[in-house]
């Protein structure tokens, strides 16, 4: 902090007195930048000439602001463009998922002797969206993105969260409104477990392949037999809820441990 200049010095500075040497002018200016009191004193000692100049500049700046483009409004619905794009790119997949689940609900309604097809298919619901969110075909700029420092598990989790936010309400709606009155936890926990499994397997073989593989495996090992025998498998009985919760937590933890493998192009 420099010492305050005297009122006499400020008066002479405001007048542009040629008798004031350069070093003094500099030290006054440096001090004025940090001291509001001295700036106020300077305002009191300005000449009519400099006040007229300041007024002229202010009028010109006002004119410039009035003539220039209006500032962008930041309305509530204005989300960053990347999020809008991403949601728009995912909507077809979510619509397809909702369509498949709707068909399953209609089939369940008419074929009452079969177990709830909605419940059988619910674990797979987010997988097409997750695969689309992290694949070379789903993201045209993958080669640019995978070379940036943000590429990695955090980014994949953020995209997966968007998919889940879009898919889970659809599932919940089917669970609540469907005539089977399926257990909500039994719809959503397997769905989270399969999402975690896709990410974990995806760290080894790529998320897209992992999603396709898991969907095929579940369809062959659980959906087809239970449709053939017309019985709900033991995996989807209410007693299995705890097991699904444990599996979800274990798979999610293992995925976090493999976070480093999402930094390269192999996971795409």
């Amino acid at each position: 902090m420099t010492t305050h200049p005297t009122l006499n010095e400020i008066d002479r500075y405001a007048d542009g007195d040629p008798g004031l040497d350069e070093a003094t002018v500099w030290s006054i200016e440096v001090h004025l930048e940090t001291c509001a009191d001295c700036r106020a004193r300077l305002a009191g000692s300005t000449t009519a000439e400099s006040r007229a100049l300041v007024a002229e500049v202010a009028a010109a700046v006002d004119r410039g602001i009035a003539a220039g483009p209006a500032p962008r409004s930041r309305s509530f619905f204005r989300t960053p463009v990347r999020q809008r794009w991403f949601v728009a790119a995912l909507l077809p997949w979510v619509a397809m998922t909702a369509g498949v689940l709707g068909t399953a609900a209609v089939l369940t309604y008419f074929l009452s002797e079969l177990p709830s097809i909605v419940l059988l298919l619910a674990p797979l619901a987010p997988l097409p969206g997750v695969a689309a969110a992290w694949s070379r075909r789903g993201d045209p700029a993958w080669e640019l993105i995978v070379g940036t420092p943000s590429a990695g598990l955090t980014m994949l989790l953020r995209r997966t969260a968007v998919v889940l936010v879009l898919v889970i309400p659809v599932l919940a709606a089917f669970a609540v409104l469907g005539d089977s009155r399926a257990d909500l936890a039994l719809m959503l926990l397997p769905c989270l477990a399969f999402t975690a499994a896709t990410l974990l397997l995806g760290s080894l073989v790529g998320v897209h392949r992992a999603a396709v593989g898991l969907m095929a495996a579940w369809a062959a090992a659980v959906v087809a037999p239970s449709l053939a025998t017309a019985e709900l498998p033991v995996l989807l009985q209410p007693a299995a809820t705890g097991g699904w919760a444990v599996v979800t937590v274990v798979l999610a933890t293992l995925t976090l441990l493999r976070a480093n493998s999402f930094r390269r192009v192999t996971s795409f």
Binding site: V81, R82, W85, A141, E143, G147, T148, S150, R263, V265
Partner: protein
């Protein structure tokens, strides 16, 4: 007293910006880069080679997109092979892929600032850095045009803008001159010379005249190995009138390549 993090004590000057020893990189099953030794410092380096010489695979490995299958690769003093943490090196990296995908609905400004955000630039700096990058590639008039409305040459320049937005210390441009008209190519050469004064710029190209005009050094590779490295003037001295080519540098290029192929056949 306060704790000093390793990032603060890390060296800021490195003997080589890019240092590869016996580097091996796979493209699919094929070993496209096979035992390459390469050391590049500050300046503009032109990467020459025939089709399938491993230029694009090498670029992808240097951009940390592909994981090396063997050997050692160091970018700005930090190792980027195996399980190393890539974030430090990636923050100082700019990369223009050969075929770069983009989001057609984004404007140039949105696209460049999205990539700046992905490169973890401080948020308050992004708008100014974006504008500067767009100005430097000469797209200021099209800054708010959607990417799908741009011509091929303009898209290429938008790609260069996203590569230079974070003032990278290592800049990798894979065929940046494709689709540019002659005047834009001259502007790009000027930009490359400017960038090369304080960064390591590696430009892969087929056009020998671009390399001679804009580069301080020429790197010639074939079948994933280094064939020759030297100045453009030294390249021009390699050939004579017996070799095909319209300029001294082109004759030098074909002379080097023929000599290498003859040695490899023996």
């Amino acid at each position: 007293m306060r704790a000093v993090s390793t990032a603060e004590t890390a060296a800021t000057i490195h003997p080589w910006a890019i240092h590869a020893e016996a580097l091996k990189v796979r493209a699919g099953r094929h070993l496209a880069v096979d035992g390459l030794d390469l050391s590049l410092g500050t300046g503009v380096h032109g990467l020459l080679g025939r089709n399938g010489a491993g230029k694009t695979t090498l670029m992808r490995a240097l951009a940390t997109v592909l994981k090396p299958a063997g050997g050692r690769l160091t970018l700005l003093g930090s190792s980027v092979d195996g399980r190393a943490d890539l974030r430090h090196a990636r923050r100082a990296l700019g990369y223009l892929p050969q075929h770069f995908g983009y989001y057609p609905r984004f404007t140039v400004r949105e696209f460049v600032s999205y990539l700046a955000w992905l490169k973890e630039m401080p948020k308050p700096d992004i708008p100014a850095a974006t504008q500067r990058a767009i100005d430097r590639v000469g797209l200021s008039a099209k800054a708010d045009a959607k990417l799908r409305t741009l011509s091929g040459g303009m898209l290429r320049r938008a790609g260069v803008a996203q590569a230079i937005v974070n003032d990278p210390q290592v800049l990798l441009l894979d065929e940046p001159t494709v689709g540019l008209d002659p005047e834009q190519r001259l502007d790009l050469r000027e930009l490359l010379r400017d960038l090369g004064t304080d960064a390591c710029v590696l430009v892969s190209t087929h056009l020998v005249e671009d390399v001679v005009a804009a580069c301080t050094e020429v790197v010639l590779i074939n079948e994933g190995r280094l064939v020759w490295q030297g100045t453009p003037a030294a390249l021009a001295e390699q050939g004579d009138d017996r070799h095909p080519g319209d300029s001294a540098a082109e004759r030098g290029y074909s002379a080097l390549l023929r000599r290498h192929l003859a040695e490899a056949a023996r």
